[in-house]
C-alpha cells in the first residue's frame, strides 16, 4: 500500500512484516524511531509472537540477539554510530558464529567530536566483521532491503546489516509502498536454522578453535560472502518479479552508457548525484554513476563490468579512512586491477555537512579536466584549517581543536551549535 511516511516507520513496518520473533532495542539517534515503531507494533498486537526486549546497552542488544538467534528465533535489532562501536565485539561474534541476525544501521558520524548527523563512518568501521552490508538509496529501498535481508541472512546463515543514511533517510517523509503480509509471507519462508541450541540435540556452539582450523573457519565465512554475490541479485530479481519494483541487487547503474566519467557512491547521496548527472548530460558531459548497494560482499566483477569503458572514476565517500583517504576508492581500485583508470576520492558529507549539487558539479568537472587531487575534501574550509595549523605551530597549549574551530567560525557564539546536540 502506498503511503506517505517517515523512513524509520516504513522500515519498522517492513521489519514487522518479516515476522521477527525477538527484537532488541536500545536508543540512539537517528535509529531510535525504527525500534520505537517496531515496539509499538508489538505492543498494539499487530506484530504477534514477538519478544520486544529493552536492553541496557547496544552490547547487550546484540548479545541478546546472538542468544535468541542461536536458539532458533528470527531476530532483529537496530543501531547507529557510537552504538555500533559499543557492540563491535558482538558484531564480529555474531558473524563468527554464523547467526542470521538482521540489523539496521542508521548511518551516523563517530565522535569525538560527538556528532549526531549523517555520514557512514560507523558501518565502515565494521566492514570486515563478516556481516553482509547493504546500502539503501531511498526509503523504498530501505524498506524492501529489510525483507530481502532476512531471506538472504537465513539462506546463508550470515548476519546482514542494512545501512540507511541517518536523518536523510531515517527521518525523511516520502512515498513508500508497503507490501501486504501475504506478499511478504510468500517471499520470505519461515526461519529454518542450520544450528540451534536444543536439549533434543545437544552440541557445543562457540568452542575455541586453534591455529589448526581457524583459517578454514575464516575461509568459510569469506566463502559465504562470495555465495552472496550470486544470491543478492537472485533475491532482488525474485523480489522484482513479485513486488514489481527494483530494489537491492549488487549495484545500480545510471546513465553509464558512453560515459567517460563515472561516479561511484553508497546510499542516499546517489539521488543528488543523479540530479547533477542529468544536468551535466544536458550540457553534453559524458558522465554517469553507479550506486553500490552491496558493500559487503563487494561486487568486484560487477563493478569492473560497469566501470570498464570509463576513463576515470570519482568515488564520493561519506567516510574517511584517516591516514589513507577513501575506503570505497580502495575497493574500486581493486575491482579495476590491471586496467588503467584514474580513481579519485571525494570525501563529502562528514558529520552531516550538506552535499550540494553545485559542489558536486564542480568536483566532477575538475575530475574531467584531471585537475582533481587523489583525495579531495568537498567544501573544506581551508581558511579555518590553516588558521588552526598556524596557531598550533605557535602555541604549545593550543587547546581542544573542536572548540577552537567553532570559535574561529562563529566568534564566541559557538553556543548555537551546541544547542542542537541535545538530541544525542
Amino acid at each position: 500500500m502506498l503511503k506517505q511516511t517517515e523512513g524509520s516507520q516504513a522500515v519498522a513496518e517492513a521489519v514487522a512484516l518479516s515476522r521477527p520473533e525477538v527484537v532488541c532495542a536500545y536508543p540512539i539517534t537517528p535509529q531510535t524511531h525504527i525500534v520505537e515503531g517496531v515496539g509499538a507494533l508489538v505492543k498494539a498486537g499487530t506484530l504477534k509472537n514477538c519478544e520486544f526486549i529493552n536492553v541496557e546497552s547496544e552490547f547487550a542488544a546484540l548479545s541478546v540477539a546472538i542468544g535468541s538467534s542461536a536458539a532458533g528465533a528470527r531476530t532483529y535489532t537496530a543501531t547507529a554510530s557510537q552504538g555500533l562501536l559499543f557492540m563491535a565485539e558482538a558484531v564480529y561474534n555474531a558473524a563468527g558464529l554464523g547467526l542470521p541476525i538482521v540489523m539496521t544501521v542508521g548511518n551516523r558520524a563517530i565522535g569525538a567530536p560527538i556528532n549526531i548527523w549523517n555520514d557512514q563512518t560507523d558501518s565502515m568501521a565494521l566492514k570486515d566483521s563478516g556481516w553482509i552490508q547493504l546500502h539503501a538509496e531511498t526509503n523504498q529501498e530501505a524498506a524492501d532491503l529489510h525483507i530481502q535481508a532476512f531471506r538472504l541472512a537465513e539462506m546463508l546463515s550470515c548476519p546482514v546489516m542494512v545501512c540507511m543514511d541517518g536523518f536523510i533517510l531515517t527521518h525523511a517523509y516520502e512515498r513508500v509502498d508497503i507490501p501486504t503480509q501475504e506478499e511478504v509471507d510468500a517471499f520470505l519462508p519461515p526461519f529454518e536454522p542450520v544450528q540451534v541450541v536444543d536439549p533434543a540435540e545437544p552440541y557445543s556452539i562457540g568452542a575455541m578453535v586453534g591455529p589448526d582450523a581457524f583459517t578454514e573457519v575464516r575461509y568459510l565465512a569469506h566463502h559465504k560472502q562470495l555465495r552472496a554475490l550470486d544470491l543478492i541479485p537472485e533475491i532482488a530479481e525474485d523480489f522484482e518479479a513479485r513486488f514489481g519494483r527494483k530494489s537491492g541487487g549488487l549495484l545500480h547503474t545510471y546513465r553509464t552508457e558512453g560515459a567517460d566519467t563515472i561516479v561511484v557512491a553508497l546510499g542516499s547521496v546517489n539521488g543528488t548525484i543523479k540530479d547533477v548527472i542529468d544536468a551535466m548530460r544536458d550540457d553534453g558531459h559524458k558522465i554517469g554513476c553507479v550506486a553500490v548497494c552491496s558493500f559487503r560482499p563487494f561486487p568486484l566483477e560487477a563493478l569492473r563490468d560497469a566501470l570498464h569503458d570509463a576513463l576515470r572514476i570519482v568515488c564520493v565517500e561519506k567516510s574517511l579512512a584517516i591516514g589513507i583517504g577513501g575506503v570505497l576508492a580502495s575497493a574500486v581500485r581493486m575491482s579495476l586491477r590491471r586496467l588503467y583508470r584514474e580513481v579519485f576520492t571525494v570525501v563529502a558529507g562528514l558529520g552531516g555537512r550538506p552535499i550540494t549539487r553545485a559542489s558536486l558539479r564542480d568536483v566532477f568537472e575538475r575530475a574531467e579536466a584531471e585537475a582533481l587531487d587523489d583525495v579531495t575534501f568537498l567544501d573544506l574550509n581551508w581558511e579555518v584549517v590553516n588558521a588552526h595549523l598556524a596557531r598550533a605551530r605557535e602555541v604549545r597549549k593550543s587547546g581542544p581543536i573542536a572548540e577552537n574551530i567553532l570559535k574561529a567560525m562563529h566568534g564566541e557564539e559557538g553556543a548555537e551549535i551546541e544547542e542542537a546536540e541535545a538530541g544525542e
Binding site: F59, S68, A70, A71, E89, G206, A207
Partner: protein, 351 residues
Amino acid sequence: MTTDPAKTEPAVGAGAQQTAPQKVRFYQTGTHTVGNRLLDDAQRTVQASMDRSNAITSGHRACQGCGEALGARYALDAAMMATEGQLIAVNATGCLEVFTTPYPETSWQIPWLHSLFGNAPAVATGVAAALRVKGRDNVRVVAQGGDGGTVDIGFGCLSGMFERNDDVLYICYDNEAYMNTGVQRSSATPPAARTATTPALGDEPGNVFGTGKNLPLIAMAHNIPYVATASVADLHDLERKVTKAMGIHGARYIHIMVPCPLGWGAASNDTMKLARLAVQSGIFPLFEAEHGEVKAVQKIRRKVPVADYLKPQKRFAHLFKGEGDVARLAAIQRMADANIKRFGLLDGEDR
C-alpha cells in the same frame, strides 16, 4: 570427551536425551565427591545417582583439583536433574569455557553456547526469549562465568538481566581472580592476595584493602526472586540451592566459591579443605535470599581463625613471613568477624 568411545555411551540419535543413565563407577565411595552409599537415597548427592546426567564428562583439561570444574559439574548436574534434562547452558569466556572445549572436543553433554567474555547474561536472556516465543517453556537456561566475567566485565549485562527479571539462573564460579589469563586481580580478589597484577612487593604486598565488591549483595539489591552463595565445601548444599533455583522463574543468582590450586598457590588435594576453611572462618558466608531479604544462613559449626584458611595458600605467604603481618592478618580477621555478625553465622549471635 567424545574421543574415547570406550568411555562414553554410544552416540544417541537425534531426539534422544543425553540424560540417559550413564554407567558410573563409584571410585570414590566414602567421600563427598561422588556420593556416599551409606546415606539413604534422599540424602545422596546427585552425583551418587546411577542416572545422574553428567553434564560435563571426564577428559576436560582443568588443572588437578580445580574447584571450578567440580562446582560446575555439581551445579549443572543438579540443574539437569531439576529440569529433567531440558537445559541449555550459556558460558562466558574463562577457564571453564576453555578447559571444557579444547577444539574439536567438548566435555558438554548438554546444549552449550559460548559467545564472549562479558555478555553471557544477555546471551542467556536471548536464549530464554527465543524459548518463550517458541512456546518451549519447559526448557530452562543457565548462564555461567568466572568472577571476572561476572563481577567485572559482564556486570552491566548481568545487572540488566536481573533488572528485567529474565528467566535465567546465573552462576558465578568465584576463584577470586582472572585465572584463565594467568591470575590477575579482579574486583572479587580479596585484600592482601598476591596476583600477577597485585604482586607481593613493597610495603603492603598483594591486593589493597578497602576495594572490591560483593556481588551477592548487589544481586539482592535488584530484588530478584532468589540469590544464594554456595561452596564446593558443601556439595549437598550447593545441589540443593541449584535445585531450588531451578524451581523458581525469573532472574536467579548463585555465587559459588571455587578454590583454584594454580592461582591460589595451593596443593591440588587441598581444594575441599580450603573451601571448608573459607566457610568455617566466616570469610565466605553461605546464605540464601529471596526478593532482597536474607532467608537462611548456614551456621558455622566450629569457627576457625582466618589464618588457618590463609596460611596454606602461597598467594598469602607474605602475611606469614618472619614475625607475620599482624596488622593485616587482624584486618582480615575483622572482615570475617563482620560477616559472622552481619549474617548471624554463629549460634548465639543474632543477626
